[in-house]
Amino acid sequence: MKLSLKVWRQKNKEAEGQFKDYALSDISPDMSFLEMLDVLNEQLLAKGEDPVAFDHDCREGICGSCSMMINGKPHGPESMTTTCQLHMRKFKDGDNVVIEPWRASPFPVIRDLVVDRSAFDRIIQAGGFISVNTGNAQDGNTLPIPKPDADSAMDAAACIGCGACVAACKNASAMLFTAAKVSHLGYLPQGQPERQRRVLKMVEQMDGEGFGNCTNTNDCEAACPKGISVKNITRLNKDFLKATIFG
């Protein structure tokens, strides 16, 4: 299949970027989106041009590295799918494809489609952990956890931190990410001792990074390749209120 690509090119953080058009032919519908970009890069290298930089790692949809806005949607047209798991059969022959990096001031573009998502790491560092003494692992059954809580915690823990929620949000808010990280520990007994401190610290860090705020439009939920629910945001708000009043 043939494709017309419009790709954001930017040399580095300081440089001003711009869109560049590329025409591709002989793209197999069985290729993944990233493999299609690999083909483009090989052609660019053959011509002596700089390849398009993009983040990728596992290419199995679980690492959260690949991050790009494809035709106005984070990770492209397929729901609950990361860019690496998106296949070219989802496009038609002759399609125009616009590829942009995530746009948010806390996610500065480093090069082309690669953005610096360290802001997420700093939110985790602020409270997305439990403090335990290391030693032998506890017997699994000494801490009973209700099945619905375990399921909810697991659902929240499915967040791979890719940043699609921020990218999709009209306010570039990181509430869904932060809420998922607050919730997956908050549902479990191990997360209780630091529950209040965690939510206050993580929200403070999130605000400090310069993300926008949540206006409950729920675009984040639809963009999330892991289907994280906005219910986690409601839960964060509740935890936050509780921590303030009773903390």
């Binding site: 705020n213 675009d219 708000n237």
Partner: protein, 241 residues
């Protein structure tokens, strides 16, 4: 104490201010609608209701100050959050598609500003009588029950909506208001952290339902006047106000 400081400085707090002040305004809108629907019950009822409100005395001022405060806080929080949101995405996307969000949820700032202008206009019109002074002071009404001469709210409203431009301006404002409420009501529940599954399963429907009630209820008055269901009250024998 430190957690309280965290709280006051965070965007989550600003949003709680927005949600609670918004809910207060919605509460006012419910009361305002119920009062206004007395237009269908005739001049004696609505004029008597207006008089009753006036006679509340200091309590009326408590409500007025609460409403002005709620409105002020609502506007303040929206400006605060909107500026932050703008700063969070300095470079716009070339192509951006909305996924799950409703048009109402994406245009809260626009509908909110339209409502702000409308509230000023509405107050100048029916509270201060500046927009249509001739119909505002169109004689008083003698209460059949007490014989007291009061402000003729009924005829004032009828005269106002008999002007098609005024009626149209109210209808446009109502469209903005119901759009705003349709997102606001559901959003407020999410912001206030209502996780109770018995309530939260309704939150997404609460906003659109309330918006529909407001739209139909409030629209019924100008439409009622325009189609002649609500007619001007016949003149009474009494001294002019």
């Amino acid at each position: 104490m430190s957690s309280l400081l965290h709280f006051l400085r965070s965007t989550v707090f600003t949003k709680i201010v927005m949600a609670t002040s918004g809910l207060l305004i919605i509460g006012f809108l419910v009361g305002h609608l119920l009062g206004n629907l007395l237009m269908f019950a005739g001049p004696e009822k609505i004029n008597g209701y207006a008089l009753g409100l006036k006679n509340l005395g200091p309590l009326l001022w408590v409500v007025r100050i609460a409403m002005i405060t709620a409105f002020g806080l609502h506007v303040w929080s929206s400006i605060e959050l909107a500026l932050r949101n703008r700063a969070a995405r300095p470079i716009a996307y070339d192509t951006k598609k909305s996924l799950k969000s409703t048009l109402a949820s994406r245009t809260m700032l626009v509908s909110g500003m339209a409502i702000l202008f409308f509230v000023i206009y509405h107050l100048l019109h029916y509270t201060f009588g500046i927009i249509q002074p001739n119909t505002y002071y169109a004689g008083g009404y003698r209460m059949e029950s007490t014989g007291e001469i009061v402000h003729h709210v009924y005829n004032m409203v009828v005269a106002g909506f008999q002007n098609p431009f005024i009626a149209l301006s109210y209808m446009i404002a109502l469209a903005f208001m119901s759009s705003h409420v349709s997102h606001a009501m559901s959003s407020a529940f999410q912001t206030l952290g209502i996780t109770n599954p018995n309530i939260s399963k309704f939150t997404s429907k609460l906003g659109p339902a309330l918006a529909a009630i407001f739209l139909i209820g409030y629209l019924s008055i100008p439409i009622g006047v325009m189609i002649g269901v609500i007619k001007k009250a016949p003149p009474q024998e009494h001294v002019l106000e």
